[in-house]
Symmetry: C2
C-alpha cells in the first residue's frame, strides 16, 4: 500500500522532466495563463551566427508599474519551458514553480510583474505550447529546417533574447531574476552581462561555473543521440524520416536519473520488472530500469534531439565570454539568494558554495539556504516551496 | 609548462581504466609475475545457468603456510583484471594496487600469500593477459561464442569461482579479502557468503548495498552499447562482423568520467580542442571531450561489449540472495577497514558510511578512513597508498 502510494508519487514527479503533456491534470479550476509570442529579426549570435528571425513564447502575471522596475524574470531548466506558473488549459497541469509564484505567494504577482519565456533551442520544440527558434525551426533562407546549420548559441544568447523581450514589454529594471538549474545559469549570466538592470538574483540548484567535469557530463548526455542511426548528423526532419527517438530517450534517461537521488529511487527497491528474471537473463529488466524506459520514451516524443545537443552546448558555453566566474561577477548586483540542494548530483552543492565564496569576495550580500530531500537536484523544481520563507525575507520591501 | 605536466599526469592516470596495454611502461626492472590459468567443469550459476567449463586467470605472490591460513584475496574493479601487483613483462606496467602489495609493503608478501584472479565475464576478454569465461567465450556445446546465451552471473558467482580456485591452491582461510569498487562488492559478498573463511575485510570505494539508484546508473552505462547497430543483440562475434566499438567507447566514457572528479578534470579547463570552434559549431569539441573520445576509443579495442553488459548485471545482483545488507552481514567476520573516497561520484561516501553503520549495529569492529583527492572514485585505485598506515595498523599481527 505504502509502496503503491510512493510509486504514484514517482509518476507525479515526472512532470518536472516531462512537462507539459505527461503532467497530472489538477481538479481545481484556476485562471488560465495566456501563452504569448515574441519575435524580432536579424539577430547576430554571440558566436557570430546570423538568425534572420527569432521567435520565442512567453507568459506574464501581475502588472508592470509606471517606472517599469517591478519586473521579475523566471528562467527555466534544461528540459523545461516558460510555463513556470499557472495553467495553460482549465484542466491542465500547473507551471513548475507555481508553488512560489502568484498572488500572495513568495514571488507575489500582486506586487511584481512576472515574465517567463521559452529559451532558444528549446527541447520541447515539437510541443504545441512551446515557441522557440532552434535547429528544428525552418531557416527562412532555405525554406527547410536548420538542422546542424543552426549556429551554436550560448546562455548569453538566451539572455540577450530575453532582454529584447523585456524591453518590448517596457521593462526597465528587474527586481529579481530567478531560476533553477539551467535557469540559475541564465540568472547568473544576467547578473554578469547586465548588472545595472538587475536588483536581486536567485540561482537555485545551479553553479557560478561550468567546469571541465560538467562540460564532460553534458557531452555524455548527448552521446546516445549521436549513436542513433536515425540521427543522420542532425538531418532527420521531414517526411519519410524517423526522428532518433531511441537515442533521445537514452539521453533523457541520463538527465532523469542524474537529476534525482537515492531517496527518490528507493521506492523501486531491487525488484525485477513484472514477469522479468534479471538474475537469469541479461536482457531482462529491473523495476527502476523499466520506469526509466517508459518515462523517457514518453518524453522523447515531445522533444527534439538536435535541440538537446544545442542546449547542452549552450550550458557548456555558460559565462564563456569571461575569464572566470570571479571576473564575470565582480560588477554584479549586490543581493543574492543561493538555493542549492544537498543531494544534487548534477551540480553538487560545492558548486553553490564556491559561487557563494566568489560573491562574498566581491563584496556582495549573499545568503545560501540548502534545500533538503531525497529528490536531489529536482528538489529545486518540485519542492522549491521549502525555501518559501527565505524567498519572502529576500524579497521583503 | 604546468599545464603540459598536468596533462601528462592525466595520461598517466589512464591505466586505471585502460590496463594493461595503454599503460605506461616503467623503466626499473622488477620480478615478472606469472599469469596462471585455473579451470574446472560443470558449474551451475547461482541463477541456475549451466557452464560446462569455467576458466579464469590468476597470479600469486608470497608463500602459503602449512595451516593454509595466511592467504589474501585481492578482487578487482569493473574494468580491471587480476593484474593487481607486479609486472607481467620486464618493461610492462605495474599492477593497479602494486603500491600496497609486495615485500615489506602494507599487504606484505613476506608474510601473506596473495592471490588475485580475473573475474568471470571480464571486460578485458580480448586482451592477451586476461583469461575469463563469459559471453565472448566459446560455448563447448555449440562451438560458437556464447553471446547473450551466456547466463547472467552475479558477484556471488565471482566469489564461488574464486573459492574453488583458492581451495585448489590449498587455501583454508583468508587473512584478508580486499578490493576497490566492484572489488569491494566481491569482498563484502565473501564476508556474507563464507564468513568462517574470512578473517578481515577491506572494501575500498565501495558499498554494502547496490540500491535502485545505482542499478539505474549501471543500466545507463550500458545504453550506448545497445544503441550501436553493430551490437546486433550481442551477436557480433566472428568473421565479417564489426564489434560495436562506438557504443562500447561511449559506455567506457561514462565509466571514465563517473569514476573521476572535478579536481582531475580541472587540467582541461574550458579550452576548445585544437583547431575546434565549439562556440560557433555544435559539432566542434572541447579539450575534455577530445580526451575522453581518444581514451575511450583506445580502450574499446581491448574490451568486449557484451562482457560490459554482463558485468553491469553482476553488480546489480550484488547481495541479491539476501533481503538487505544488514541481513547479509549479521554473521560476517569481525574485522573491517572501510576506505571510501570523499569525492566519489560512483559510490558517494554515504554508501560507505551506511555500511559502517550496518557493521557497527551488527557488533563488528570497523574503522572508516576517507581517502582524499581530486581524482574522486579512482583515489581508491591510483592513490590507495594514502591509506598505507591504516592498512598496516589493520593487518598488524
Amino acid at each position: 500500500m505504502t509502496t503503491r502510494r510512493r510509486l504514484l508519487s514517482a509518476t507525479a514527479a515526472l512532470p518536472m522532466l516531462a512537462l507539459p503533456a505527461v503532467g497530472r491534470t489538477q481538479p481545481a479550476a484556476a485562471p488560465v495563463v495566456a501563452r504569448l509570442d515574441f519575435s524580432f529579426t536579424d539577430y547576430t549570435t554571440r558566436g557570430g551566427g546570423r538568425l534572420p528571425v527569432v521567435r520565442i513564447g512567453y507568459q506574464t502575471a501581475g502588472r508592470l508599474n509606471a517606472a517599469g522596475d517591478n519586473a521579475v524574470l523566471i528562467t527555466h531548466f534544461f528540459s523545461g519551458n516558460g510555463h513556470a506558473f499557472g495553467r495553460l488549459e482549465p484542466q491542465g497541469p500547473l507551471g513548475w514553480w507555481d508553488s512560489i509564484i502568484g498572488p500572495g505567494k513568495p514571488i507575489d504577482t500582486d506586487r511584481f510583474y512576472v515574465v517567463a519565456s521559452d529559451s532558444l533551442v528549446n527541447l520541447n520544440a515539437p510541443d504545441r505550447h512551446t515557441i522557440t527558434t532552434g535547429p528544428a525551426s525552418v531557416n527562412p533562407s532555405t525554406g527547410r529546417p536548420w538542422g546542424l546549420n543552426f549556429p551554436a548559441v550560448s546562455i548569453r544568447d538566451f539572455v540577450e533574447v530575453q532582454k529584447r523581450l523585456l524591453e518590448s514589454l517596457g521593462v526597465r529594471r528587474l527586481a529579481l531574476v530567478a531560476g533553477p538549474s539551467m535557469g540559475a545559469l541564465q540568472a547568473v549570466e544576467w547578473a554578469a552581462a547586465h548588472p545595472a538592470m538587475v536588483e536581486r538574483v536567485i540561482p537555485a540548484i545551479g553553479t557560478g561555473e561550468v567546469d571541465a567535469w560538467m562540460m564532460g557530463w553534458l557531452d555524455l548526455w548527448c552521446a546516445p543521440i549521436r549513436l542513433d542511426p536515425n540521427w543522420r548528423n542532425g538531418d532527420y526532419y521531414g517526411q519519410g524520416r524517423d526522428a532518433p527517438l531511441r537515442g533521445l530517450a537514452e539521453s533523457l534517461k541520463l538527465v532523469t536519473l542524474h537529476s534525482r537521488d537515492r531517496g527518490w529511487a528507493a521506492q523501486f527497491g531491487r525488484r525485477p520488472a513484472e514477469g522479468q528474471e534479471p538474475a537469469r537473463r541479461v536482457q531482462d529488466r529491473f523495476a527502476i530500469e523499466q520506469w526509466l524506459d517508459s518515462a523517457a520514451s514518453a518524453r522523447s516524443r515531445l522533444s527534439d534531439a538536435n535541440s538537446f545537443l544545442y542546449l547542452a552546448r549552450a550550458n557548456q558555453l555558460f559565462l564563456n565570454e569571461y575569464e572566470s566566474g570571479a571576473a564575470a561577477l565582480a560588477g554584479a548586483p549586490q543581493r543574492w539568494l543561493v538555493l542549492p540542494s544537498q543531494g544534487d548530483r548534477v551540480f553538487p552543492i560545492e558548486y553553490s558554495r564556491e559561487l557563494e565564496a566568489t560573491l562574498r569576495q566581491a563584496g556582495k550580500q549573499v545568503e545560501l539556504v540548502p534545500l533538503r530531500g531525497g529528490l536531489g537536484h529536482l528538489e529545486g523544481v518540485s519542492n522549491i516551496a521549502q525555501a518559501e520563507d527565505a524567498i519572502r525575507r529576500f524579497l521583503a520591501p
